[in-house]
Symmetry: C2
Subunit: 340 residues, 2 copies
DNA sequence: TACCTGGGCACAATCGTTTGTGCAGAGACG
DNA sequence: CGTCTCTGCACAAACGATTGTGCCCAGGTA
């Protein structure tokens, strides 16, 4: 703390209150003379005065902080979301505290409480797991919670997510259009809305070509590379007749690529692959993956807006609390036609 | 703010000071009876009391905040550093505020001041540009600044960076060992220590095989993909006899790959490529790049430690303020022997 | 009884702001 | 000359915690 308002006031020869009002533009309203205002400002400049955000927060009951909790900040998807939120928040004078829940609900809960104690004004959370009680509880206590990416149906919280069902339908259609009928699914975390909606979309696309979904072709328990690898390995071993895989995340797809290589199946010749989400430099990969990618920037932007609106807007409308961002199909080389 | 200490105190039938001391473990030192402590704790529990971090910060002059300023949070390298810092900070009860300077000094300065006003207790900065005056100024005002990745020689600040010179020497040796003698360099931001040290290392490796560095073979002005692309394009056009390129960053290398493709040079057959830094899934790229990769985790970890030590440690030792983290050579397929 | 000691607690200042209110002096007006 | 209305500012109470100090009472001792 270099200098306080009191010092500025003393140097300008006025009281603290006058100094405060002079610097905050409340001069006219409180009949402070132009000359005094100038004196105060000069004093503040000379002292390099920077108001204590802490004191101000205490007095105004406004910390200007947004809490962002993501499962893995090193993951390009979450890093990008965090970045967008940080930029959007900064534009409105807010700062963001990021916390990494390491894909564990236990940590998520702890971090949320920690940030709550810091009186963040709003949360943007990319939740782990399939429990939302703690999130609803926090929202109920007064700090608005915005869910991004992984959302929960009917939980009453503000949500931003992608059009998972439509996206997955499009992805699967890329495969069925090329004649694929036996498609393995490397799913993410079952029970989460993105996962389950994608399963729906997948089933819809299959239904369009007259086949119903075979749940034995669905494997995986998380959005991680490990899950993708293990599931792909198993599926490829159990069902060698599979001609294509649909991975629900980039890590899932990367795991699948490794499993495919080990199984001696080359992509796309012996196995087609389509995925959800994109990754940087995907076009420079050995197998440029066809994908349905999410509009990460837009998700982050929307989430930030919702969070900030929830804070500033006095009337918190709970109506239309869910936003579904459009997905975009990117066709690359990872899909080949089925040979008869 | 659900409930305050005062409410807890009232409910327990004691004064605020007793309540505070009971909850903070100062009971014995202030002769507060066991029974009272229990009453207070019970009251706190019932009310779901969470002390206001803001008030505490004001009183204790300790915000428990660390400011992290990076050029691009969406960049895997910085995302990873941020993550490590966040985890390390959290382990010590600190939280991190991240800010994205968008690769512009102007933003960096603004963000630093903003965070300074928030009374962060320490900074970890991956600076943009080659100016360090503002950083030294802030450090001088009392908030310790730790530089990570891009550091400045002799600036007196705590620094964590990689062994750029040694790393670059190793990288170039990968090329010279395969017979390459005409090596183009796609550099990053000139004037920054990482860049200039890498140039040194490159020169050293060349000297070992008896040739001196040709500065006309060095191009580029930033660590971005655009810089890599443009410089590679130019170098390949001007000097078709180049047999290899050394890119100073992953984005540089990706730009080079695109430029090479456009120039009809395939890697590694017609052009070898080695790079600094790694990227996720690099082994799954079309051209798995040989690289000298930095230990991002360690850099983040060390930076966090230095920052936190600087805060807690009363004696701020300015000695040995620079840490050079080891690099690791990863050989992949992007280098071929020079055919005579 | 007078004195001392120590236990158990309350009071009040403090951190650095913001903001409601009060008070003095100057001029206007009758 | 008294009253009224501005002007221009100072005082002081918050915000929610921490912490130095003071007070009171009980029990032990001389």
């Amino acid at each position: 703390m270099v200098s306080t308002l009191r010092q500025v006031a003393e140097r300008a020869g006025v009281s603290v209150s006058v100094a405060s009002r002079s610097l905050n533009g409340h001069a006219k309203a409180y009949r402070i003379s132009e000359a005094t205002v100038l004196r105060v400002k000069a004093a503040a400049d000379q002292l390099g005065f920077r108001p204590s955000h802490t004191a101000r927060s205490l007095r105004l009951k406004k910390t200007g902080l947004v809490g962002v909790v993501v499962p893995d900040l090193a993951n390009a998807f979450f890093a990008s979301i965090s970045r967008t939120i940080a930029l959007a928040a900064e534009a409105e004078g807010y700062s963001v505290i990021v916390a990494d829940s390491r894909e564990q609900t236990e940590h998520e809960v702890r971090l949320l409480h920690q940030l709550e104690a810091r009186q963040v004004e709003a949360f943007v959370v990319c939740p782990v797991g399939s429990e939302d009680a703690h999130l609803r509880q926090i929202d109920g206590r007064g700090t608005p919670v915005v869910l991004a990416d992984r959302t929960f149906p009917d939980c009453g919280l503000l949500q931003v997510t992608s059009q998972h069902r439509r996206g997955a339908r499009q992805a699967t259609e890329l495969l069925t259009a090329k004649g694929h009928r036996l498609i393995g699914v490397l799913q993410g975390l079952p029970g989460t809305l993105p996962n389950d909606q994608r399963l729906c979309g997948h089933a819809e696309a299959l239904a369009k070509v007259g086949i119903s979904m075979d749940h034995s072709l669905v494997a995986g328990d998380n959005f991680t590379e490990a899950s993708g690898y293990v599931s792909a390995k198993r599926l490829l071993a159990e069902r060698p007749d599979l001609t294509a895989l649909f991975a629900f995340s980039t890590p899932n797809a990367m795991g699948a690529l490794r499993a495919a290589a080990e199984a001696g199946r080359s992509v796309p010749e012996d196995l087609s692959l389509v995925t959800f989400d994109d990754c940087p430099y995907a076009d420079l990969m050995r197998v440029p993956l066809s994908t349905v990618c999410q509009d990460v920037e837009r998700i982050g932007q929307l989430a930030a807006e919702l969070a900030l609106r929830a804070v500033t807007g006095s009337a918190r409308k709970k109506t239309q609390c869910r936003h579904d961002v459009e997905t975009r199909v990117i066709v690359r080389d990872s899909i080949s036609s089925v040979r008869n």
